[in-house]
C-alpha cells in the first residue's frame, strides 16, 4: 500500500470523473515523496486519503473550487492534514467541490462539474462531490470533506459510500476555509463504516489552534456489536413525508425491519420544527458566508482582476469576476438578511428557529431515544442540470441533512439499497459527542442491510 506511484496511477484511472483537481504529474511526484517519508508505525500507514479542496495542504494548491483562489498555495496546513500525515496516511490530492462548498451537486465548481461514478448523466451530490465520487469509484478507501448543511452525507448517499459528519467541536477546523462558521464541520468518506471511523478517530480531538474544537481526547473506535439489543431508535415522522421517493421509503422500511430483527426498539417520534430547517439554514449560512468571504478581495489571496481606478474598484472587480454565480448569489442574500432593517425579520428569526430545532432533538433524546434513523436524501442522485435554474429546488434537497448542522449533532449516512442501480443512503443522527454509539449502530446496519440490492 505504501507504493506512492501505484496509489497515484490508481487515482489517475478515475480521471473521467473530474473529481481530482491535482494534475497527474504533481500527484505522482508528491505521493512518491510522501510514501517514502510516511511513518510505518502510524495507524493509517500507507492509506491514501483524498482531501477536499477547501482544506489547506502544503503539498497542493487550495482553491475551494473557485477562480478567486486559482493557484493559491497555503503557507500552512490544516490540523486534520497534519494528523493524517502523522498517522502515516498519504494525502492523495485535492478533490473538486462546489465553489466554497456552496452547492448540493458539485456543478458549481469553477473547474467543471464532477460526474457520478455510476452514471455520468447524474450528479455525485455536493458540495464534497469529488471526494464522494473518488471513494465511490474505488479510487481511494477514504477521503475528507466538509459538511455545512449535508455536504458529506448527501454525496455519500448519492455515491453509495459511508459519510460521517461529526459533532460540532469534535474535529479541529484549523485550516478549513470557513463558509458557515457555526455550521461547518470536517467530515469523512469511507468505503465502509470502519474505514471512515478509522480516519475520524485520527483527525478528532483537541486542538489549541481552534477555539471551537472541544477539549476532548480523540474518538475511540467502538467494536462491531453482535446485536442492537438495548438501542432505542426513533423514526421522526417529518422525515417520511408522503412525497418521499417510493424506493427510498422501501429501502428505509427494509433497514428498519432488519434493525428490529437485531433487537433494536424502534419508535415513531416527532421533530415538529423540521419544515423550517431549510429556510433557517438558507438565512444563517449565507449570512455567515457573506462575512467569511469578505476576506477574498484581491489583496491578500489569489489572483487580482485589475484595471480598476481605485481600491474599492479593485475589490469589486476581483470579487465580481472571481466568484461564480452561486457564491455571488449567496453573498448577496447574506448581505441582504444582515442589512439594517432586515436583520430582525430574517437573521434573528432564523437563529430563534435554530433554537427550536435544537430543542426538538433534545426533547426526543431526553425521552430515552438513543439515535434517530431517517433517509439521507429525498431521492437518489438527480440528473445534472436538473436543478441548476432553480436555486430553491436545489436547496430543498438538503431537507434531511441541515437539521444536524443547525443542532450541532453527529450524523452518518450508510448505503441501504439501490433504486434502478442508483445508491440510497440511510442516516443515523446521534447525540452530541456520542459518535461511538452512532458508529456501533452504523456497523450493525452495514452488516445486515444489503447495500447494493434493489429496494
Amino acid at each position: 500500500m505504501s507504493d506512492g506511484k501505484a496509489v497515484a496511477d490508481h487515482l489517475i484511472k478515475a480521471k473521467r470523473l473530474n473529481a481530482l483537481l491535482t494534475p497527474p504529474k504533481e500527484l505522482r511526484k508528491s505521493l512518491q515523496a510522501q510514501a517514502a517519508a510516511a511513518r510505518p508505525t502510524g495507524v493509517l500507514y500507507g492509506m491514501p486519503v483524498a482531501v477536499k479542496d477547501n482544506i489547506c495542504t502544503l503539498e497542493f494548491t487550495t482553491t475551494c473550487g473557485s477562480r478567486i483562489l486559482e493557484g493559491y498555495r497555503s503557507p500552512y496546513e490544516a490540523t486534520v492534514v497534519a494528523k493524517l500525515k502523522a498517522a502515516g496516511a498519504l494525502i492523495a490530492g485535492k478533490t473538486n467541490c462546489d465553489e466554497f462548498a456552496m452547492g448540493s451537486s458539485t456543478e458549481h465548481s469553477a473547474y467543471g462539474r464532477v460526474f457520478h461514478p455510476l452514471d455520468k448523466a447524474r450528479v455525485p451530490g455536493g458540495s464534497s462531490g469529488g471526494s464522494a465520487a473518488l471513494v465511490g469509484a474505488g479510487a481511494v478507501p477514504a477521503a475528507l470533506g466538509s459538511d455545512t448543511g449535508g455536504s458529506v452525507r448527501q454525496p455519500a448517499s448519492f455515491c453509495g459510500v459511508v459519510g460521517i459528519k461529526p459533532t460540532y467541536g469534535r474535529v479541529s477546523r484549523y485550516g478549513l476555509v470557513a463558509f458557515g462558521s457555526s455550521l461547518d464541520q470536517i467530515g469523512v468518506f469511507g468505503r465502509s463504516v470502519h474505514d471512515a471511523a478509522r480516519v475520524l478517530s485520527v483527525i478528532s480531538g483537541r486542538d489549541p489552534r481552534d477555539a471551537t474544537c472541544e477539549d476532548r481526547d480523540s474518538l475511540r473506535l467502538p467494536t462491531v456489536p453482535e446485536s442492537l439489543q438495548g438501542f432505542v431508535i426513533g423514526l421522526p415522522r417529518e422525515y417520511f413525508p408522503p412525497e418521499l421517493d417510493p424506493a427510498v421509503r422501501r429501502a428505509c422500511d427494509r433497514a428498519v425491519r432488519l434493525m428490529k430483527e437485531l433487537g433494536a426498539a424502534v419508535r415513531e417520534v416527532s421533530l415538529p420544527h423540521t419544515p423550517y430547517a431549510v429556510p433557517a439554514y438558507y438565512v444563517i449560512a449565507p449570512a455567515e458566508a457573506s462575512s467569511n468571504l469578505a476576506r477574498f478581495d484581491g489583496v491578500r489571496y489569489g489572483p487580482r482582476f485589475d484595471g480598476a481606478a481605485d481600491l474599492r474598484g479593485l475589490y469589486r472587480s476581483t470579487r465580481g469576476q472571481g466568484f461564480g454565480p452561486e457564491v455571488r448569489r449567496r453573498i448577496l442574500v447574506g448581505t441582504y438578511v444582515l442589512s439594517s432593517g432586515y436583520y430582525d425579520a430574517y437573521y434573528r428569526r432564523a437563529q430563534q428557529m435554530r433554537a427550536l430545532i435544537a430543542q426538538d432533538f433534545r426533547n426526543v433524546f431526553d425521552r430515552g431515544v438513543d439515535l434517530l434513523f431517517t433517509p439521507t436524501t429525498p431521492t437518489p442522485a438527480f440528473k445534472a442540470g436538473e436543478k441548476l435554474a432553480d436555486p430553491v429546488a436545489m436547496y430543498v434537497s438538503d431537507i434531511f441533512t441541515v437539521t444536524a448542522n443547525l443542532a450541532g449533532l453527529p450524523a452518518i449516512s450508510v448505503p441501504i439499497g439501490r433504486a434502478k442501480g442508483l445508491p440510497i443512503g440511510g442516516q443515523l443522527i446521534g447525540q452530541a459527542f456520542l459518535e461511538d454509539e452512532m458508529l456501533e449502530a452504523a456497523y450493525a446496519v452495514e452488516r445486515v442491510v444489503p447495500a447494493t440490492d434493489e429496494a
Binding site: 477555539a211 477539549d215 420544527h273 423550517y276 470579487r319 455571488r328 435554530r354 430553491v392 450541532g408
Partner: protein, 104 residues
C-alpha cells in the same frame, strides 16, 4: 417580497461586488424567490425571550497565559525583500528624506 434591480445594486455595493448589468434581472428574480422562501420563518410564533442557539462551548476557553510563539509558516527570509543575520535589511534612514526640489 420583491427584490428590485436597485435593491440588488445597493446590496452589491454593500458586499463590494461588481454585478453585470445583463445578469441583474435574473439575479433580482432569484433573490426574490429565495427571500420569499425563507420568509415562511415568520409564520411561526417565536417568543422574544427565545435565545438564539449556537452549538459549541458555552464560553470562550482561555489558554494558559504563556508566551509560546508558533513558528512562522513562512520564514522571514522568504518574504522579506532583504534579510541578513536575523534582521530585516532596510534602506538607511537618510534615504527616506524628502527629495530635493531639484529632483522633482
Amino acid at each position: 417580497m420583491s427584490v428590485t434591480r436597485d435593491d440588488v445594486l445597493r446590496i452589491a455595493q454593500l458586499a463590494e461586488l461588481d454585478v453585470d448589468e445583463d445578469t441583474l434581472p435574473a439575479l433580482a428574480e432569484q433573490m426574490s424567490r429565495i427571500l420569499d422562501y425563507v420568509a415562511q420563518l415568520s409564520a411561526v410564533p417565536a417568543s422574544e425571550a427565545l435565545r438564539p442557539y449556537v452549538p459549541g462551548p458555552d464560553a470562550i476557553r482561555f489558554r494558559p497565559d504563556e508566551v509560546s510563539p508558533w513558528p512562522l509558516a513562512t520564514a522571514p527570509e522568504e518574504f522579506a525583500p532583504a534579510f541578513k543575520d536575523g534582521f530585516f535589511v532596510v534602506p538607511k534612514l537618510g534615504q527616506f528624506d524628502d527629495p530635493a526640489p531639484a529632483d522633482l
